[in-house]
């Protein structure tokens, strides 16, 4: 076999290896008290963020947590507090992968899931949010945001109607929060890693 042939077969093999990998992105089913949302995650584009999220899924961290911040037309945020607004303990924060994500095409578009964080760009732990609109200002490098961006790591592949239902739920003051808390708690009952459909 000459070198050219060897190179060609390598290219074909790599391509063959790449596409099934893309098709086999992990999926997570988020069962809430108002319906189920299925997420597809992108480990090749946001490896640390996906690994972190999946670790919380495996540990059952999200079971019993609420969507505590719901702003229709913007996003729904949850995964940090239980029904009594006690913040669940988390592991150490992860580095922000928003830049690599944007460079790989992951942007805060409607239906995508990204990590919430404090003013410190590398402070995401367990809380996440699902974008309800194209929130470009949350992307890395966008001059309207803080520049560091919020790391997108997946998207909703089914159950968008459930996301919409959560978005439309009436909100108000709740626990330590002055506003945007659903009046009827939206609770994540379980999260499960599932085979891609």
């Amino acid at each position: 076999m000459n070198l050219l042939k060897l190179w060609k077969s390598f290219v074909i093999l790599s391509a063959a290896a790449a596409s099934p990998a893309a098709a086999a992105n992990p999926q997570v089913e988020v069962k809430t008290n108002v319906g189920t949302i299925r997420l597809e995650l992108y480990p090749s584009k946001a490896p640390k963020t996906v690994a972190n999220f999946l670790q919380y899924v495996r540990e059952g961290h999200y079971d019993g947590t609420i969507f505590h911040r719901v702003i229709d037309g913007f996003m729904i945020q949850g995964g940090g507090f239980d029904r009594s607004y006690t913040q669940k303990p988390t592991r150490a924060p992860i580095p922000n992968e928003a830049q690599a994500g944007v460079e790989a095409g992951l942007k805060n578009e409607a239906g995508t899931i990204a990590m919430a964080r404090t003013a410190n760009p590398n402070s995401a732990t367990a809380q996440f949010f699902i974008n309800l609109a194209d929130n470009a200002f949350l992307n890395w490098g966008d001059p309207r945001g803080d520049g560091n961006g919020y790391a997108v790591f997946g998207k909703v592949v089914s159950g968008l109607d459930v996301v919409t239902k959560i978005a439309k739920t009436p909100t108000g003051r709740g626990g330590p929060f002055a506003s945007d808390v659903p009046r009827e708690a939206i609770v994540i009952e379980s999260t499960t890693l599932v085979d891609a459909k």
Partner: protein, 249 residues
């Protein structure tokens, strides 16, 4: 030299366990490394008497907080506590349980290498006549002795009623009325002959520079802990407002 930390408006209550958790974490973390912790009012969302610590059926929050402050004080951080407009009945019984020292409102103290006026801040809101009238009543010896003489269950009910009344009144007041009055601020600088004032109460954290009678002065406003909380750190003349930010997009 050491680091002094100033906090206010924690509004600790059974209804906000996450704030309590954050506060207890703060006491074991940043505060334990400080020389002194100054609480400038409204540590609790309400306080109906020091027997809250011991009465049968009393909530565990007060005891838990007193214990944590006591641990801090024993660890070498001096703890000073000022009454706020909500917990104005915090008394010597509570302070003794915490190993804390009382801080009068106002007090002039040496903070960050400068003479500094410490206040809760409610007395600076002089446009809120309605509140000031209530304050005069509530701080009078006669009202307090009558209130404290009532059984604890009755005091709980009365306190609940007073709070909902106050919330209802607040809804009808403008934001300007509930902020400090610039005249009252200038008057405080003059009367106490200071160039630095630190207070809480307004829930509008910030650093304001102003001139009073030709002298440059500064006013620091502490953050509340309803959402995320924070503190003012004073170390070797450098003051810094540290706000814990909530996780958001």
């Amino acid at each position: 030299m050491g680091r002094d930390l100033l906090i206010s408006d924690l509004h600790l209550s059974q209804e906000r366990p996450s704030t309590t958790a954050r506060f207890l974490e703060f006491l074991q973390g940043e505060a334990a490394l400080a020389r002194a912790l100054y609480v400038l009012g409204d540590l609790f969302d309400y306080w109906i008497g020091d027997d809250e610590l011991t009465a049968p059926g009393a909530d565990s929050l007060a005891r838990e907080v007193a214990e944590a402050l006591r641990t801090l004080a024993h660890g070498g951080t001096a703890v000073y506590v000022m009454q706020g407009n909500r917990d104005f009945l915090l008394g010597s019984g509570f302070l003794a349980a915490c190993g804390a020292l009382p801080l009068a409102d106002p007090t002039v103290a040496e903070i960050g290498s400068a003479k500094t006026l410490l206040m809760h801040g409610d007395t600076l809101c002089t446009d809120d006549l309605d509140y000031l009238a209530w304050r005069r009543t509530a701080r009078s010896a006669s009202w307090q002795s009558e209130f404290l003489a009532a059984p604890i269950a009755e005091r709980r009910d009365r306190s609940r009623a007073l709070r909902s009344e106050s919330e209802a009144r607040k809804r009808t007041k403008s934001a300007a009325i509930m902020d400090v009055s610039p005249d009252a601020v200038r008057e405080a600088f003059r009367r106490h002959e200071v160039t630095r004032l630190i207070h809480g109460h307004t829930h509008r954290p910030g650093h304001h520079e102003l001139e009073v009678d030709g002298r440059p002065c500064e006013r620091w406003v502490l953050p509340d802990w309803y959402q995320s909380g924070g503190y003012l750190s004073a170390e070797d003349g450098a003051l810094r407002l540290v706000e814990f930010s909530p996780a958001v997009p």
